[in-house]
């Protein structure tokens, strides 16, 4: 068993760390305060090759592995989790399904811009009535004169409303199945298609630098060629998409947890009380030790799950993906909580980044499958 990153993975880490600390981190507080999407940062991430990192060279990517991509998400999220989710959603939820299930024409049409970061693609699965129960989709797509007509609505869709959002993959019912629930298929809907409306964005607790909107579809016509993969394949597709996405969300969580640890260590050494740095108090040291241990454990299972993802035959993958997502997200939550605690009253004030970390972290336990859902999935893998 080899726990060393390859020379390329280390280089990816160092490069992304340098970029994130020099470019992403300095802008984070302002984007957060102004609830602003960082177009300039996204453009620079595109130039660096971040969006195409894990895609094969013939598709216009860099030919890196999935772990390299996860390391990139980790480092970017360590600087700004809102920018981290922009990258994660664009890659894991946006471009990956097109790469994996798309036709040659669909790939050629969309991937060059998506892998260069010039455009973003969104993934619309969640609905007002279908969250954890993602298969409870009510959105419908009906065939009509060689086209599909989509009606329904989607909830909380990342990257759907930016100036560079090219479109969204939506899941919709395309028929009934015997006894079981409806047949689900996925469609590529370009931004600007008549009948497709991106509603005003939410007022979110955190991730202020990311873009999230409700979507509505009213008699929205798309050509037959916009069906993603086979009719009825939607359910299997999104299970696969979400499993990969979970590992990337785990990486995002590790990055944010690391940022909490970094900030807490720095502050504990500087802050003096009772004539000494608070870092000299055992109560503070033990908190920091626990944080460091958990961050390292979260990183290990995340990297392990990432390697299992690349190794397609791995039967362990789904279980590892859920475990990584669950453990890393809950680790980041505890780390943010302790980081604020170590900052005392200053941690409750927005002048310190830990306040932002604390607001940004909660969603890690909810998006791409809640903690409860991950526990259900792990239990299922145990044969229960």
């Amino acid at each position: 068993m080899d726990f060393e990153l390859s020379p390329e993975q280390k280089q990816v880490r160092d490069l992304c760390r340098e970029f994130a600390q020099e470019v992403v981190a300095p802008a984070a507080a302002e984007l957060d305060r102004e609830h602003r999407f960082g177009y300039d940062i996204v453009r620079q991430m595109g130039d660096l090759g971040l969006f195409g990192l894990g895609f094969p060279e013939d598709a216009g990517g860099a030919g890196g592995d999935f772990l390299s991509y996860c390391i990139a998400v980790e480092e970017i999220s360590r600087a700004d989790a809102g920018v981290g989710i922009t990258l994660e959603a664009a890659v894991s939820l946006g471009a990956t399904p097109i790469q994996e299930f798309g036709t040659k024409e669909q790939k050629e049409c969309w991937l060059p811009d998506l892998l260069a970061g010039r455009k973003l693609w969104a993934f619309g699965l969640t609905e007002p009535g279908a969250g954890s129960d993602a298969a409870g989709t009510r959105t419908r797509a009906q065939p009509e004169d060689g086209e599909w007509v989509i009606n329904g609505s989607k909830q909380f869709i990342t990257n759907s409303g930016t100036e560079i959002s090219a479109g969204v993959t939506v899941t919709a019912l395309t028929g009934k199945r015997e006894g079981a629930r409806g047949e689900i298929s996925a469609f590529l809907v370009p931004t600007g298609t008549p009948g497709y409306t991106v509603e005003p964005s939410y007022r979110k607790l955190g991730w202020h630098s990311s873009d999230t909107h409700p979507l509505t579809f009213e008699d929205c016509h798309v050509p037959a060629g916009n069906l993603l993969g086979k009719q009825g394949a939607g359910y299997r597709q999104f299970l696969h998409t979400l499993a990969g996405g979970r590992v990337a969300i785990a990486a995002l969580s590790v990055g944010l947890a690391q940022a909490c640890l970094d900030a807490a260590v720095t502050y504990a050494k500087e802050r003096q009380q009772f004539g000494k740095p608070i870092a000299s108090f055992q109560a503070i040291q033990f908190k920091l030790a626990d944080m460091a241990m958990e961050v390292e454990l979260a990183r290990m299972i995340t990297y392990r799950a990432a390697i299992a993802y690349s190794d397609r035959g791995s039967v362990e993958f789904r279980k590892l993906a859920s475990m990584a997502k669950l453990f890393a997200s809950e680790t980041s939550k505890r780390a943010a909580d302790q980081a604020v605690q170590i900052h005392g009253g200053y941690g409750f004030i927005e002048d310190y980044p830990v306040a932002r970390y604390w607001r940004d972290v909660k969603i890690n336990e909810i998006g791409e499958g809640t903690s409860e859902v991950q526990r259900m999935l792990i239990a299922r893998e145990l044969g229960i």
Binding site: E8, Q11, V12, L15, L50, E57, A62, G63, S68
Partner: protein, 252 residues
């Protein structure tokens, strides 16, 4: 145009530097491509973009220096030559220059680019020695390098401004940070570097007899620390006191 850029791996300059018991720099910790050499790579790549050709990195260093070489390749250099031999540990400036010259000569480059000095040893002796051994004219402290036909023209940084110096190619130039911010290695560059050639060369293949060192370290002492300045607290007449000080040192 063929451009050789010399590159060196050094201990991370942001980490505290330690000496070993025989007064050599401890190279055990984190190591990086010398930031000074990144300017060399950047200058080489800019010239390649303008004139076409090839950028070849040449490095002498232990096996792990491959990481620094890889960084230069990821930035866009085409291939590399890595002279690595355990017996070269602790090589002084002259031996280093001899090794580099022997590795560079068969390449017949039009231009050799070096940093002005390494960030760890900071002797600044290797590039001039190397130019001499290669029989090339040298232009040092360049903040701008241009190639016009078979002439190399540089803006040589001085305390007052710059001089324009021209040399007949093949030539050696040393570059400063003035040549421009080194580019990030793109992620595509990192992955592409996997398949670029890094030729490993051993000392025996260069036909160099390792003589006794030309330099030796006799002792090590800390540099004198600068005396703390005077802190002027404002009790109403701070401005006058600062002015008086500035007049005294003839700053105003």
């Amino acid at each position: 145009m063929k451009i050789v850029v010399t590159v060196k791996q050094i201990p991370d300059p942001n980490a505290p530097q330690k000496l070993t018991s025989d007064n050599r720099l401890d190279r055990g910790g984190e190591a990086v491509l010398d930031p000074g050499d990144e300017y060399g790579v950047e200058a080489g790549l800019k010239l390649k973009e303008a004139h076409g050709g090839e950028v070849v990195l040449v490095s002498m260093g232990p096996a792990k220096a491959a990481d620094a070489i890889r960084k230069g390749l990821s930035m866009g250099a085409d291939r590399a030559i890595h002279v690595s031999d355990d017996s070269l540990a602790g090589a002084d400036a002259l031996l280093t220059a001899q090794i580099l010259a022997a590795a560079i000569k068969p390449e017949n480059p039009d231009l050799v680019i070096c940093g002005t000095e390494s960030t760890d040893g900071s002797t600044g002796m290797v590039p001039p020695m190397l130019a001499e051994l290669l029989g090339m004219p040298q232009a040092t402290f360049a903040k701008q390098v241009e190639v016009k036909g078979d002439k190399v023209s540089v803006h040589r940084q001085t305390n007052e401004g710059y001089e324009v110096v021209e040399a007949q190619a093949p030539a050696l130039v040393t570059v400063t940070a003035g040549v421009g911010e080194p580019r990030y290695a793109s992620l595509k560059g990192i992955m592409a570097a996997r398949s670029k050639e890094v030729k490993k060369v051993e000392l025996s293949a260069l036909g160099i007899e390792k003589g006794s060192p030309a330099e030796s370290v006799e002792g090590v002492a800390d540099a004198e620390t600068r005396k703390a300045g005077e802190v002027i607290e404002d009790d109403g007449n701070a401005a006058e006191r600062i002015l008086a000080f500035l007049v005294q040192v003839k700053a105003v």
